[in-house]
Every structure is written in structure tokens, then in C-alpha cells.
């Protein structure tokens, strides 16, 4: 297949159509089994759909890993008010590129997932909030939605079931924070993309003040397969607490970067050494960010025993997040990489909460100064204290995301900072 790299050790549930342009058309998608899940779901009650997803143990793939069925069950069980489903396709975590690929290659899988999700939470309207930069993916998705409307899969009478579900593709304007669910809702309503204070939670007061559920693209794409094949089928992979398969986006210093769909619990080093063909140029591994730029770094040593599921990565001192594995070899300048991440967050902070607005830029400027060889050892203490002041004090977790890479790098790669501070030496080049 043309899709960059595949491996026999993958378990492909969601990514089966990657590299196959035929699946983009409705006809091609139907041939490949799409909309079977929707048909099955419509024959069930909404609560039965929620129950089967609950039983499958599917956890949110956007980063937090909250059980999807449980999230759905928080929605009111009546039609008194409009309910909304929002699909979060604002994939903006640095290092992540799974949702984009799903939408590009298999848009109907997402449409189907949204329709089932909407049905399950009694929503008459679903939104797909696409990242503004996803130009091609948005076009592919919009075509798929049009085709599905024309075929009666979306609209006033979904598949002849009498259910009315509308689907709107909304394109964001390029803000990281709109990937946070309440920021996404504000943006969708046409407001400033700023996270909202919780409580109230979206299941009570969400988009347009109505009960809302926000789910990640990959989460919703897993739903049709679970509905068709059952929860036990899905549980054949992964562990009790982290069942199923997950797309891993590997980038950085590996020979074969790309998306790999693996059962949860897969060993991190197997992913790097086997599936990805090892580190480029045969270099030694220095560090891995296992879950996107907002989680703590793992040292090469910590990676050895790391199993890629929610609990496994947590026990190594990091987080699975959205499973964006950024691999850094021995040539990496950790200070520079952390500074780049901090600068990203400083740029993307919405500016509401003071610790984040001021802290992220302060940390960035300090790192810039250290990088330029004008740092002091006191700066490292200041960095640790500032980032500690940024954790848990804000409305959303963007502020915590700045702290994670900074704190972990200062703790784990202190000698690289000290080399710069004491001798003006850069450890790496990349």
C-alpha cells in the first residue's frame, strides 16, 4: 500500500483505509462496510448504544482518556432541550497527525461515528469542528458530508429511521486553545476562543447553553466498529482499563515516522526500534515525548520499560495524551526543544488566566536567555517555581502543558542546562 509505512504488528481497525483514495467516496465507503454501524445503532435504543460503548471501555482519544460511554451517559435522557454533539477535529497538539489522516482517507467513518454519537446522546445536530489549517482534510470531509446528505444518511430521516440528525462542518481560525472543549464551544458560537469555567460542565451547559458532548475524531471513529462487532471484540486488545487500539503518531528521529495503529499496551521501544525502523543514522536515543508536547519527557532509560497505554505511561512519569510520540536522539538540544515548546504555548495561550498569560511568556523568555548563554543557575530554580505556580491554578490545562516539558527537562536533563549556563556549551545540534 502506498501509505508511508505499515507493519504486520499493527492492528488496524480505524486506519484500514489509509492510503486508499477509493474510501473517500460514499460508494467506496459503503463497499468497505461504512454505515453498517449506523444501521445497527439505529435499530437499538440510544441508551443501548451508550451501554455498549461503556462496556467496550473506549476512552477518549483526544488526550484526557475519559471513558466515552460514561461521558455520554451524563447527557440528559430527554429531548426537552436541544442536545449537541461536537466532534473535536481541531487537532493542534504539536506532534499529532492522526485525526487529519482519518479525515483525509476515511471521512465517512467519521461521519458515521458522529451520527451514532449524536443518536446515542439524543442530539439532533452534530458539529465537526475542523482545524483551520486542515485545508485538504476539510474539503474531503465537506464532500463526504454532502454525499451523505444526498444519500439520506444525514438529515431529517437518517436511513429511513425517522431520526433527524444534521451535521455541520465548522472550520476554526487557527488557535490551539480551540481544541480545548469549552474553548471549542466558544469558538463555535462565534465568541473568543477562551475556555469556560467548569462547572457547569458541557453535558449540562454546552454549545449555545445546551447539553453538549465533545468527542475526539478517533474516539467517534472507533464507535461504529464497536457497535457492529460488540464490546467484547474491542476488548480483545489492550488491557482491562485501556482496551482497544490506538493510533500512534511517531515523529522525530526515526527512520519510518508516521501513524501506527496498535493495541494499547504496546511496548514503546518496539514501536521505535521495530515498526519505525530505529533511530536515524543509528544514533542513540536521548528522550521521548510520549503523548504530544504537553506531557513530561521520558529519558531513554525510562522508555525501556514503557508500555503504551494510559496506565503504563503514567507509571513512567508521563502521560499517554493523544499518543504523539516525539522521538529525540542524542543530537537533540533539549533546551532548544523545550524553549520551542514553551514559545508555542506562550503564543497560543488565550490570555484569560494570569498564571498562563504571564507565566508562559516569562518561562519562554527565561529559556531564551539560558539558550543564549546568559542564564544563571538561579534561573533553573526560578523556572521550577514559576512552573509550579502555573499548575492547577488556571481554567484549562494549557498552563500545565507549559509546566510539564519544562519541569521534566530541568529535572531530567539538568546537565544540559548547566552546560549552557556554566560553559556556554550546547549539548546537541538539532
Amino acid at each position: 500500500m502506498a501509505y508511508p509505512y505499515v507493519s504486520d504488528r499493527e492492528v488496524r481497525v480505524i486506519s484500514t483505509q489509509f492510503g486508499d483514495p477509493e474510501a473517500r467516496t460514499l460508494a467506496g465507503a459503503k463497499q468497505r462496510g461504512r454505515y453498517q454501524g449506523l444501521k445497527t445503532a439505529l435499530d437499538m435504543s440510544p441508551d443501548a448504544v451508550v451501554d455498549i460503548v461503556k462496556a467496550s471501555g473506549l476512552r477518549g482519544r483526544g488526550g484526557a482518556g475519559f471513558p466515552t460511554g460514561l461521558k455520554w451517559s451524563f447527557m440528559p435522557k430527554d429531548y426537552d432541550k436541544p442536545h449537541y454533539l461536537c466532534c473535536n477535529a481541531d487537532e493542534s497538539e504539536p506532534g499529532t497527525f492522526k485525526d487529519r489522516e482519518i479525515i483525509r482517507w476515511d471521512p465517512h467513518q467519521l461521519v458515521e461515528g458522529c451520527l451514532i454519537g449524536a443518536y446515542a446522546i439524543r442530539a439532533r445536530h452534530a458539529y465537526i469542528y475542523c482545524r483551520g489549517e486542515f485545508f485538504e482534510a476539510t474539503q474531503v470531509l465537506a464532500r463526504a458530508v454532502e454525499e451523505a446528505y444526498a444519500d439520506g444518511l444525514i438529515g431529517d430521516d437518517v436511513m429511513g429511521s425517522g431520526q433527524k440528525i444534521d451535521l455541520t462542518v465548522h472550520v476554526g481560525s487557527g488557535a490551539y486553545i480551540c481544541g480545548e472543549e469549552t474553548g471549542l464551544m466558544n469558538s463555535l458560537e462565534g465568541r473568543r476562543g477562551e475556555p469556560r469555567v467548569k462547572p457547569p460542565f458541557p453535558a449540562a451547559v454546552g454549545v449555545f447553553g445546551m447539553p453538549t458532548t465533545v468527542n475526539n475524531v478517533e474516539t467517534l471513529c472507533a464507535v461504529p466498529h464497536i457497535v457492529v462487532n460488540g464490546s467484547e471484540w474491542y476488548r480483545q486488545w489492550g488491557s482491562e482499563k485501556s482496551p482497544g487500539t490506538k493510533l500512534f503518531c511517531v515523529s522525530g528521529h526515526v527512520r519510518k515516522p508516521g501513524n501506527y495503529e496498535l493495541p494499547l499496551g504496546f511496548p514503546l521501544m518496539d514501536l521505535i526500534d521495530d515498526l519505525c525502523g530505529g533511530i536515524t543514522n543509528g544514533n542513540a536515543l536521548k528522550a521521548v515525548i510520549p503523548g504530544g508536547s504537553s506531557v513530561p519527557l521520558l529519558t531513554a532509560e525510562e522508555c525501556r520499560s514503557c508500555a503504551l497505554d494510559y496506565e503504563g505511561v503514567s507509571s513512567c512519569g508521563s502521560m499517554l495524551g493523544c499518543a504523539s510520540v516525539i522521538v529525540m536522539d542524542e543530537t537533540t538540544d533539549i533546551v532548544k526543544q523545550v524553549r520551542r515548546m514553551a514559545a508555542f504555548y506562550a503564543h497560543e495561550s488565550c490570555g484569560q488566566c494570569t498564571p498562563c498569560r504571564e507565566g508562559s511568556i516569562w518561562v519562554t523568555r527565561t529559556l531564551e536567555r539560558i539558550e543564549a548563554g546568559r542564564g544563571t543557575e538561579d534561573d533553573l530554580d526560578t523556572l521550577m517555581e514559576l512552573t509550579a505556580q502555573m499548575v492547577g491554578t488556571t481554567i484549562c490545562v494549557l498552563s500545565d502543558s507549559v509546566a510539564a516539558p519544562v519541569q521534566s527537562s530541568v529535572l531530567k536533563f539538568r546537565d544540559e542546562y548547566l552546560a549552557l549556563i556554566r560553559r556556554g556549551e550546547r549539548v546537541g545540534t538539532a
Binding site: A175, I177, R192, G193, V197, A346, H347, E348, S349, C350, G351, Q352, C353, T354, P355, R357, E358, G359, S360, I361, W362, R365, T366, R369, D379, T382, E385, A388, Q389, G392, T393, T394, I395
Partner: protein
């Protein structure tokens, strides 16, 4: 008494070791206030929505995984809150450090200095020294239009001003633009706040020196000002205000919260119209006319001389709706004592009300004087035009006793009162039309005396004296009651609270029952005339 079922449900919790019982739904911040603890905050304001974004009011609540924003967290039964625990204090010190990260620390040249929440909190709970080594961000200044200047560098991004314009004034002219540390408050178009009627409030609610009044700019230091509770004298709304005074001058007016009248707000017209209180050239001593000459005298001589003349014929009196209820009551008592007669007043009326949309109880009313309802309630009648002139044809040529109290007669010709057998003029300033007055007696303004006004809904509200009276000037009620005492030989009121209770319309209301909130004495009977201009 309300039925037991009507009583609000209450919740009992512990704040800093102290048990408090508050109505269900109260925020921790308010409950803490009841327990005597002020939790620092910027974005929260009682008159606005609470976005919980300043992160300064975070407090430790037992069993909660994180610190909780006390402004939006509702109390729960049995909750244990620590506002002064190590965790809370450490966090607040951290957040305050972030507030100072880009702050210019230009307190010595900042108008807000002395009444600045950043200054207060940083001194109370902040770190003793800064750790910032990076250059500070610079935004510079901007003219927001109207009376408002914006000093971007001092802004703490609490968005109170944005929310005031959105929610209360309901004319969203301010917004946060950009994001992250580049975010800043800005106006949409060049006119900014120009043309809105309540924008002065954004200066009041700004917790720091980011929004300043052009009128007050560099005029006084906040700590030099004396504050006196008062009532706005510029329309019949009766907004509760503070007079901020120094050097025997009113320096600015600020609203004082009263949820029954003006909420936390006041209008710009009322706020900026105070220079007349400071007008110089005051009458300072009683003047007695002797032929064509006036000669200054003391009160004793003036009053004794005046009493001798009081039999000079039927009386017609002109009063002013800028006078207090006590003044008006004394004027009526005098007229009654002299056998009764016309009591009229003149008042400027604006073409329309300016309503504060988000708090419609508050409007700049059409009557541009504070005590029109008081005058009406006391049976006085309005004459003249909407600009407060004319209507005095009969009075100007009256040949009995002419009594003018508080009306400056600016529009009247020098021949006013020429025919009068006795013409008594009580005012703050002399005018040409007073040149025939036999007695010219100096009055105080509302700012120099204690008293009450009756507002548009017949709410009687007290105000206090914030300035010393110039020279021998006295409140009208004191002069008139002294005159009556001299005339009747009986003891008469010598204190404002005594003068107040002589007015039968107020029933058994006293200064004590009025308190600071005021009391509606009787439902207003006066109908607002229909139509806009020219009625």
C-alpha cells in the same frame, strides 16, 4: 413576617475555622466576607458576571483536588474552606508575582496609586522582591474616547470594563484583542467610548490604573482625598455617591453602591457635573440694603431687621428643587406663618431619560435637579420652561413680600422685585435680579450641609456635609427656622434631623430609619409628562 417556608435555605460551612451560615447559592467569596475575610480578587465584581479568570480568589477547599475560584464556587453544607492556609497563600503569592511580571511599577505617577488593588494585594501578600530579569512588555497609552484614558501597561486583564460595556451599558465598545501576553483591551473604532452615557464607571471598576479619568488625571493623589457620603445633585435619580474633596473643593464624584437606586453605577453627566459646586464668588455674609447701598452685617442684625419687616403684605415665594427637604419644609413653614401664599419652583428638564440598559432602575432622569419630588410632595408647583427659565412674571412685579430661596434668577432682569414691599433673597451667588433685594442672605450648597433629597420614586435619602461653608453662609433651613424663632418667639429646629421631622409628609420617618439606603415615603403620584421635547 414571612412564613417559615419562604425563608431561604441556608448552608453552614467553616471558613478559616469560623462557622458561618449563609443562604444556599452564596459564593465562597461572599460567605468569607461574612466571616470577616476579604479574599483578594480582580475579575469578580458584584455588579458583573464572574468569569473566574483572574485566578486570585482561589482558595483551598478540603476534599477538592485543586484550589477553587471562590467567586464562582457555591457554598456546600459542611464545606471546610481555608483562605489563609499555606497552600492558598503560596498560590496567591505566585499569581500576584505573575501580575507584576509585566507591570511597569509606575505607582509614583499613577493616579490609581493609593486606591489600587494591585498595590494593596502585592503589599499584603506578595513577594518582597521581584524576580523578573526579562524586559517588560510595552503597550503604551490610548485615548478610549469620552472621559477615559487607557494605560495598557498597567492593565491586569480582568475584563471588568469589557463586561461592563457588554452587560450593563449593553453597548459593547470594548473588547479583548489578540491573545496570550499580547492580549489587550481595545476599542473597535476611533470614537471608542465617546457618546456613551455611563462609561465613567469603567474607570471606577478598574482595579488598577489602566483606565483613568481624563477629568481627574494628575489632579490629586487618592490618599489626600476626603470621602463624604452624598447623593448626586444633578438629576432626580438620586444616585448614591461619594464626594471626594480636598482643599475645600470637590475633586470628583464616585458612585456609592445602593442596589435599590443606582446599583454600583452613576451616569457620566452626573459624574462630571460638579464644578458648579466649586464655583467662586460666593455670597459669604448677610447683606442688608440701605437705599442703593448694600452693607454687610451679621446674622443677628440681619434676622432682627428682617423680622421687623415681615408684616409687609402677602407673601409669594420662589424656591429651588436643588434645596433639601429640610430647606423646603422651612420655607413652607415661613410662608404659612406669614398667612400663606404661592410657593413655586423652576427646574430644568432634559428632553429624554438616559437609561442604563443593564440596570434599568438607573437612568439620568428628565428632571435635572435632585429634589423635584420633594418640592412636589410639599405642595409646591413648578413654573417656567424646560430650561429652568421664565414663569416668574407675577412674582417679579409682586408688591407684597417676595421670598427667593435657592433660585439664582440668572434669567431675570435687574428690575425683578422692584415693586416688592419686602424682597428677601437667599442664595449662594448674587445676581443682577437680586439688586433690589432688601435682604441678601448667603446659603450653603448641598455639599456644605447635611440633609435629605426625595428622588423620582419618592425615596428620601440622606447626604452629609463634605465641605466647610464659606464665610457666614448657612443652610436655608437654619436661616429660615431662626427667622421663625425670632418671629414667633418659640424654639425652633436647630439641627437637620429636627428640621426633617417637621415635614408632616414624611410621617414617622426619621434620619435614623432613613439610614444609608433611604426610604420610599409614599408612592410617587406625579406623572411623567408624555412626549419628548417641548411638553
Amino acid at each position: 413576617m414571612a412564613d417559615h417556608a419562604d425563608l431561604p435555605e441556608t448552608v453552614t460551612l467553616t471558613i478559616d475555622g469560623q462557622q458561618v451560615t449563609v443562604p444556599k447559592g452564596t459564593s465562597i467569596l461572599h460567605a468569607a466576607e461574612q466571616a470577616g475575610t476579604q479574599v483578594p480578587h480582580y475579575c469578580y465584581h458584584a455588579g458583573l458576571s464572574a468569569p473566574a479568570m483572574c485566578r486570585l480568589c482561589l482558595v483551598e477547599v478540603e476534599k477538592a483536588p485543586k484550589l477553587l475560584p471562590s467567586c464562582v464556587t457555591q457554598v456546600a453544607e459542611g464545606q471546610v474552606v481555608h483562605t489563609q492556609s499555606d497552600k492558598s497563600l503560596t498560590m496567591r503569592r505566585g499569581v500576584l508575582e505573575f501580575y507584576l511580571h509585566n507591570h511597569p511599577l509606575d505607582c509614583p505617577i499613577c493616579d490609581q496609586s493609593g486606591e489600587c488593588k494591585l498595590q494593596d494585594y502585592a503589599h499584603e501578600e506578595g513577594r518582597p522582591h521581584g524576580r523578573v530579569r526579562e524586559p517588560k512588555r510595552v503597550f503604551g497609552r490610548d485615548d478610549f474616547g469620552g472621559d477615559v484614558l487607557f494605560y495598557g501597561d498597567r492593565c491586569v486583564m480582568c475584563t471588568r470594563c469589557v463586561r461592563f460595556m457588554n452587560e450593563v451599558e449593553q453597548d459593547p465598545r470594548l473588547a479583548v484583542v489578540e491573545r496570550g501576553d499580547r492580549s489587550i483591551i481595545d476599542t473597535f473604532f476611533d470614537e471608542g467610548l465617546e457618546g456613551t452615557n455611563f462609561h465613567g464607571n469603567v474607570v471606577d471598576i478598574c482595579p488598577v490604573g489602566a483606565l483613568l479619568s481624563k477629568d481627574f488625571l494628575f489632579k490629586q493623589r487618592a490618599w489626600d482625598l476626603s470621602h463624604t457620603d452624598s447623593v448626586c445633585p444633578n438629576c432626580s435619580q438620586g444616585c448614591n455617591i461619594e464626594l471626594h474633596t480636598r482643599d475645600n473643593l470637590v475633586q470628583r464624584l464616585r458612585p456609592r453602591p445602593n442596589l435599590d437606586v443606582n446599583g454600583h453605577w452613576m451616569c457620566d453627566e452626573g459624574r462630571l457635573d460638579y464644578e458648579w459646586i466649586n464655583r467662586g464668588g460666593r455670597l459669604e455674609v448677610p447683606l442688608v440694603r440701605d437705599g442703593k447701598e448694600f452693607h454687610a452685617t451679621d446674622w443677628k442684625e440681619a434676622l432682627v431687621g428682617l423680622v421687623r419687616e415681615l408684616g409687609a403684605g402677602p407673601v409669594r415665594a420662589l424656591v429651588s428643587p436643588r434645596l433639601s427637604n429640610e430647606d423646603l419644609g422651612a420655607a413652607r413653614a415661613l410662608v404659612d406663618q406669614l398667612g400663606g401664599g404661592d410657593l413655586v419652583y423652576r427646574s430644568r428638564r432634559a428632553p429624554e431619560e438616559l437609561v442604563l440598559k443593564g440596570f434599568p432602575k438607573l437612568a439620568r432622569r428628565r428632571d435635572l435637579a435632585p429634589n423635584v419630588n420633594g418640592a412636589d410632595l410639599l405642595g409646591m408647583s413648578r413654573v417656567g420652561d424646560n430650561d429652568g427659565t421664565g414663569g416668574l412674571e407675577g412674582l417679579a412685579s409682586h408688591d407684597g413680600i417676595v421670598l427667593v430661596v435657592g433660585d439664582d434668577l440668572e434669567d431675570q432682569p435687574p428690575t425683578f422685585g422692584k415693586e416688592a414691599a419686602l424682597y428677601v433673597f437667599l442664595g449662594t451667588h448674587s445676581s443682577e435680579a437680586a439688586s433690589h433685594a432688601h435682604f441678601t442672605l448667603p446659603l450653603t450648597t448641598f455639599a456644605e450641609q447635611e440633609g435629605t433629597f426625595t428622588n423620582h420614586e419618592n425615596r428620601v435619602q440622606r447626604f452629609w456635609s463634605g465641605l466647610p461653608a464659606p464665610g457666614a453662609a448657612r443652610p436655608a433651613w437654619l436661616i429660615l427656622w431662626a427667622l421663625l424663632a425670632e418671629h414667633t418667639g418659640q424654639t425652633q429646629p436647630t439641627r437637620p434631623e429636627e428640621a426633617f421631622v417637621t415635614v408632616s409628609e414624611f410621617g414617622d420617618v426619621t434620619y435614623e430609619t432613613l439610614g444609608k439606603q433611604g426610604v420610599i415615603v409614599t408612592p410617587p403620584t406625579r406623572q411623567e409628562p408624555a412626549g419628548a421635547i417641548g411638553d
